[in-house]
Symmetry: D2
Subunit: 310 residues, 4 copies
């Protein structure tokens, strides 16, 4: 009497539609504060390439920190493992925008998924080019892996972040003070704020995540996006560091590598089985989507997708 | 031309025997400081129950922090999920014996695998009994899951820890100051120091880990040690928190849930596939066995056992 | 129309008697929790040796951290400036019982007036003797400088501290872990808890402080307690570190070197002019006597006793 | 056989000229790195208004953080004690440019003499005006209290700071993120970098400090710069916070309220007796002038000027 994936996904969407505990929409980026919290979307791509979706899976939302998975992939492609001289691979044990860790560890961010780490990654992508060129590269990469030329940057969100992103500006200046940024601070922040402001739907995001689920390969275009080993290692980072200071708890409850963003989206990767995107704008205290996390917990259990055992 | 498990294990043991970079034997427990660093053992139990071993797999070593996996299992069996009111489930982002985190988070250790967390777990096992009764329970549990009545406590090591364990005494007193210990400090420390001083061989440790690899079941005695869900969640904790401030790196390189100890032992769990014990006394800067980690990295790669993808 | 010292002291006592904002009596030492907050005492000894007192100046109270001034004096007498290899001279910028600083600075307390520093000072006084001998020495010293053989230890308070002083036990074990204690932890804590449990009256405390106000000399016995230079430097430490994380504010408002204790007492020293003791059990958030601080602020202003200008 | 002030000052200058242990010139501001470390100047103004000087007392140097005393005075004149809602009055227990404290205490700098605090003070002076107007006001104030129209900003130093002041930019952005800056970050930094780049001689600086030594009054122009109470309280802040994490030690050794800068200058204030300026570019590990501190220690001792006793 086990349900099919399609039935499970539909049941989850129905369950979520009825929930009233939805957390709080992020308010620190003014442009995001107005998003309707009553939305939930889910999309799953399986090993056969079948897409199963439900809820608001076609509504674009702000990708925010989920983009850090893709910029990390790009930066590793450019500079290889030398990136790890500038960014660590350890969970942070701290809020996503903590500057204390950076002082204590002399300008080396603990991992590429906290803000400071992602800012270093943006600097590695810049690599002497203009912000425009770097952003073009990021967009092209995302469109390629998602098979979708429509993916774009929401300029209003980008501007809203730029006007209010003082903590990120503090982090970037601090990194620069330690010599861990090469491009001018404003250029790096420009790239960072804009790639966080990319708009995606659950469908687009799930498709974009396929290379991580399926050994680094691009299922439709053929060929490799990254090596199998690199896909595996990015998945490991998502599991240990993907949910800020809620990463341990997410691994404990859901057991699937995933990366969340304050826009309410989560990309989850079941190695060999599925790439998943969920979205719901209400966040918990750690900045992770309340319904998104709940949906992934149920999905993981029903499909026995935890990497830690059936 | 892929090698069998037996061939792979033998090759790894041969490889390790030739390595000269072996790290440093822990010196802060005087009784451990004299262990010969030139040793390496490995034992693997697969889903069929076959044991494959090589090197010094029959030499007893000090279990140290690997015991925290088993005391956690016991404590959860006693007090259930209420344990999580007293201990967190997040990676620590700090040294294993850091007291700063405890002050900042008001006496709630970040996870049960750092010392402070394991001391709370020991307190939960005590639960009104004498240290002798509590230690009896821990030993009986370990003998049961390892199918081996010979497992015992090395009293010399226990005494050595007790005489020099001032940091752990500081942690325990601090926990008590926050009301997060119930038994007297000396009793809790007594239990803690003694369960860390249990001596095991690689074979014994690999057998003891079977319930985590195989859905909570006891393969030979039959029946359940823990529910499948609990086994899965303990594995998740091992992956995110099992190697102190080297947990992220271990997940990145090896991709298998594992718990290390400063005795040089590591217990690793491949869900559905294998329970593994490796041992070599030389440690890296984070306190994890250098050869043990290297052996698991190779084994994971060769057998495609990473939980994050083939 | 400036008032005489006697008139000023009387006016302050009258003012304090009418105040209703009195802070909270310390509760973490059970034996102190029952003290009546409605008490206030003051005693001033001037350069002529005249004692001016008002309010509950003859009621004994628990000296607590004010004793650290006298143990510091004793320890400097024993080991001289080598003490500064084991304790710093900087304000702590932290709560009085913070253990974080100790971890960060590798077992060297920032100054002798925070608990960790005073525990090191107690160890320096022990110096191979028994706690009983060390405490005898401390009592004898205090009786000598106060010209009063009645000063004694309140054993109930000492026991109460010993039973509940887990934070101090944590600090002491931590110091021991860093090698910054020589005597056994329990012995050092025994000395520390007992010297904090000495009972004094305002009169006794003001008399005891004379050597600091008057160039290191003992006004009645004649001769020197310490050199003028040492008295001066202890005063400097009282000003920068005497009120925990309220030291800056106290210097700003009162401008007189002083040391407070959670029993509600404060010893203040006006170089060349007066030694002052005030007492009232209600504390502010930093652990300093509310009325005691207020009384000293008024006294300093009226008598133009601030060391920072008239 | 006590020497006169003039003889003492001359003897100190001669002593310093022969010293070889001179510390290191600050290198993090490139324009300062080239200053000749072999210089030493001293100037003292006494209660009669007599100026006694020796050494390189007429050589201009970069005022750096000593300017914070004067901007604090100005800001208090503008916004009064409401400034203390935005800045604390406690020693920092940390390096002068630590950002950790700011995170921990939610954007309220511990005191106005660490960089973050002085940046808030600069914002209070801006108060809706342009940086040019604010800087004009600061310069006018300094010229007035020093009776010297020649005091100016060294534009090269200002530019050098602006080009490399990434830590200060981080602090300012961080303060803005907490809502503790009102003017745009660049404007506040512009004011801050420029007032730190003012060039003064020892003579000018000693004259500028007279209002603090002599009850808030302007000895030559007549009238008050600030009230006697405010002068007293600024002196208290200088004593507890004037030398970064070396403030306690300076109080211990010298016992005079003083403020140092990384240009090697120190302004010291002996209430009722003297205003002193010393300068020598070599710094100790805490960023304070080595010879400047040594000179003040000797001067304090010889003249019995410690506020903590003769």
């Amino acid at each position: 009497m086990s349900l099919s994936l399609a039935e499970t996904v539909a049941a989850i969407a129905a369950d979520m539609a009825g929930r009233t505990e939805r957390g709080k929409v992020a308010t620190y980026i003014p442009e995001l504060a107005g998003v309707d919290p009553g939305q939930f979307g889910i999309a799953v791509v399986d090993a056969e390439g079948t897409l199963t979706a439900a809820g608001d899976s076609e509504t674009p939302f702000s990708i925010q920190s989920v983009s850090k998975v893709f910029t990390l992939t790009l930066a590793l492609g450019k500079v290889g493992d030398t990136l790890w001289n500038r960014v660590g691979r350890e969970p942070s044990g701290n809020a996503f925008n903590s500057i204390t860790q950076l002082e204590y560890e002399k300008g080396i961010p603990r991992n590429p998924f906290i803000n400071a780490g992602a800012i270093v990654v943006a600097d590695a992508i810049l690599a002497g080019h203009t912000p425009k060129v770097a952003l073009g590269e990021i967009l092209r990469f995302l469109r390629f892996i998602a098979d979708d030329e429509d993916i774009h940057i929401d300029q209003k969100v980008a501007r809203s972040e730029q006007d209010t992103g003082f903590r990120n500006a503090a982090l970037a200046n601090y990194l620069r003070a330690f010599g861990n940024l090469r491009a001018p601070v404003e250029q790096v922040l420009g790239v960072y704020f804009h790639h966080c402001a990319i708009a995606v739907t659950c469908r687009q995001l799930a498709l974009a995540g396929r290379y991580l689920a399926f050994g680094g390969r691009h299922p439709t275009a053929g060929g490799r996006v990254v090596s199998a080993g690199r896909a595996k290692r990015i998945n490991a980072l998502m599991l240990t560091c993907g949910h800020y200071d809620g990463s341990g708890d997410f691994a404990f409850k859901v057991g699937i590598p995933a990366k969340s963003g304050v826009g309410g989206g989560i990309l989850a990767v079941v190695p060999g089985k599925a790439a998943i995107a969920v979205w719901s704008p209400g966040l918990d205290a750690q900045g992770n989507s309340v319904l998104g996390s709940a949906a992934l917990e149920i999905l993981s259990q029903r499909m026995q997708w935890s990497v830690f055992g059936a």
